[in-house]
């Protein structure tokens, strides 16, 4: 019985913190359903008097957000597929296939983790410009092709694959690439899902690089489109909230569906450090 007040205290505190944390997201949904102008009244309303989808209609019919939603989907999906292709192969090689110079390359890559991506940004832009890739989706994708952090995430998981298993396959006459495809990849499925979720969310939410590379509304990703829209439509809070819903809901849904994998990757990265 002594525990009773403490139980109330802990759960009460959790409820309050969770309510405060979720409130901005709740208000985004509520305001996106309000008729124009309603959120700018006093006292500030928490729920639309008459819920309407007018803001969403306006966004898709006139602001071209459907196109930008498609751009974001294409970029995040391509980034995920490319990152999986490059990083999984490399991660496995660093874990299990001793090639000449492996140790040294690995040390250089660890060292590279301290260099912020922004240092490479300016010359990378010039490089894309000379290749004619500025203002293209391919240009946005370039930095997400391969990543040191992702390679180490895969390497960490691949280290747990037992050597005996690989050696048994070799004795049976399987080639190295067959072993990678048939034995290693299935065993690494959980980390592949983790990496896929990380990359997709990262590419979807990325702002600075697409902002630099893209300069044409039709090619914008959702965050860039939203930032530009918010400058033109400062007063239209309901419209902007509908834009935020369109941007945030896909990633929130993906996260909720694959939460287990996401959290595993997050703590794996931390333990490694």
């Amino acid at each position: 019985m002594r525990r009773r007040p403490a139980t109330w205290l802990v759960n009460g505190a959790l409820l309050v913190v969770a309510a405060l944390t979720l409130f901005p997201l709740f208000w985004m949904f509520a305001a996106s359903l309000m008729p124009a102008g309603q959120s700018s009244t006093y006292p500030p309303p928490l729920w639309p008097s008459r819920p309407t989808l007018a803001n969403y209609r306006e966004l898709f019919a006139h602001a071209g957000i459907g196109r930008q939603l498609l751009n974001s989907l294409v970029i995040a999906t391509s980034a995920t597929l490319l990152a999986l292709t490059f990083n999984v192969a490399a991660g496995y090689a660093f874990a299990k296939l001793d090639f000449p110079g492996r140790q040294r390359v690995q040390q250089i890559l660890v060292g590279a983790l301290v260099i912020p991506a922004q240092v490479a940004m300016l010359p990378l832009f010039l490089m894309l410009k000379s290749l004619g890739l500025v203002n293209t989706l391919a240009g946005v994708l370039v930095p997400s092709l391969a990543g040191v952090f992702s390679i180490f995430l895969v390497r960490q998981a691949a280290l747990t694959v037992p050597d005996e298993l690989l050696d048994a396959a070799r004795i049976d006459g399987a080639g190295e690439l067959t072993i990678f495809r048939r034995i290693v990849l299935p065993l690494l499925t959980p980390i592949l899902v983790t990496l896929a979720v990380f990359t997709f969310l990262g590419a979807w939410n990325d702002f600075l690089w697409p902002l630099i590379v893209l300069n044409d509304g039709d090619r914008y990703t959702l965050p860039v489109a939203l930032a530009s829209l918010s400058r033109e439509h400062v007063q239209d809070s309901e419209l902007m909230m509908a834009g935020s819903v369109v941007t945030v809901v896909p990633v929130l849904a993906l996260f909720l569906a694959l939460q287990r994998y996401y959290m595993q990757g997050l703590t794996a990265g931390a333990v490694k450090g």
Binding site: V10, L14, V17, T21, L22, L25, W27, S40, T41, Y42, L46, N87, A89, A90, L97, D98, F99, P100, R102, V105, A112, V114, I115, P116, Q118, V119, A120, M121, P123, L124, F125, L145, A146, G147, G175, E176, L177, F180, W204, N205, F207, L208, P223, L226, A227, S230, M241, G243, S244, T247, V248, V251, L252, F255, L256, M263, L266, T267, A270, G273
Partner: protein, 291 residues
């Protein structure tokens, strides 16, 4: 195919990509920072000249750079401890034996982390509105006068810090939560037998056992906070009166608004050096604390 050949074959594509699209540009950035690359050079590289350390010298003489540096340090020095305190506090709550529905609370508190920073910054801009924002409305109910959060140079950075803490604390919370689960339960049982209260248990057992984890998340969070950009870009445009201009914002404007790519590269390297120094300092303090 031998193992070494297969290893090379599988590692090579990623390594080539990283070499071409990361290491090469980093070296190029160093070279670029020693030139006067600007709009004219962008049109015709014949205008490009080597200027030695002039960009760095000019940067150190530019009051705007010092303003941006001060703002970034303000954001980091106030924001990171605040964010870590909230992360540890909420992790302890979720970890508590008394907590119900832990998984649900963990998900709820983590949700802002996966959201798009631009989208949620737009939400907060309206929540922080002086007249119609719900934050001032709530403060009004508690008896506070309305604050012009994003229009007053004294409050713009605190508002951005509040936003950043809300957006990010869940990330470190999950890492701290995993570390809490690794602390042996018998340590607490022994402390309880010795009559230690909850507060003492937290100070004498929980915090020391979390030491290495806290050092790790602190290093990562400081590095992340040094890269402040999207928040001021969306919420304040670096204003009012440059009070939220960050180093990365300065880099962006110098490079992609004025097309002074030489000077912008110098800013990039100064940012890199700052982050490197901050990491080294924390590792040193961490070693001292452990000794």
């Amino acid at each position: 195919m031998t193992r070494a050949q297969a290893g090379l074959l599988l590692a090579a594509p990623a390594l080539v990509v990283i070499a071409v699209f990361f290491f090469l540009p980093v070296l190029a950035a160093l070279a670029l920072s020693l030139t006067d690359f600007d709009l004219y050079a962008l049109a015709d590289s014949g205008y490009l000249r080597f200027v030695g350390l002039r960009n760095y010298v000019q940067l150190l003489g530019n009051p705007l750079f010092w303003q941006a540096l001060g703002n970034t340090l303000y954001f980091t020095v106030v924001g990171v401890p605040l964010s870590l305190a909230v992360s540890v506090g909420t992790a302890v709550l979720v970890h508590s034996r008394l907590a119900r529905c832990r998984g649900l609370f963990r998900t709820a508190l983590f949700a802002p982390v996966v959201t798009t920073v631009v989208a949620v910054a737009v939400i907060w801009r309206y929540l922080l509105h002086t007249r119609y924002g719900l934050i001032n409305y709530g403060l009004g109910k508690l008896g506070f006068a309305p604050i012009d959060w994003l229009g007053d140079p004294h409050f713009a950075m605190p508002a951005i810090i509040l936003f950043a803490v809300w957006k990010n604390f869940g990330y470190n919370m999950v890492i701290v939560l995993a570390a809490l689960q690794n602390i042996p339960e018998d340590l607490y049982e022994a402390a309880e037998l010795d009559g230690a209260g909850a507060g003492q248990q937290f100070l004498r057992i929980t915090l020391p056992m979390l030491g290495p984890t806290l050092l790790f998340v602190s290093i990562m969070t400081v590095a992340g906070y040094f890269q402040l950009f999207a928040e001021p870009y969306v919420m304040t445009l670096g204003g009012p009166g440059q009070s939220t201009l960050s180093v990365l914002y300065l880099l962006y404007e110098e490079g992609f608004k004025w097309w002074n790519l030489g000077r912008a590269s110098a800013v990039a390297f100064v940012l890199f050096l700052m982050m490197f120094a901050a990491t080294a300092l924390q590792m040193r303090l961490g070693r001292q604390a452990a000794a």
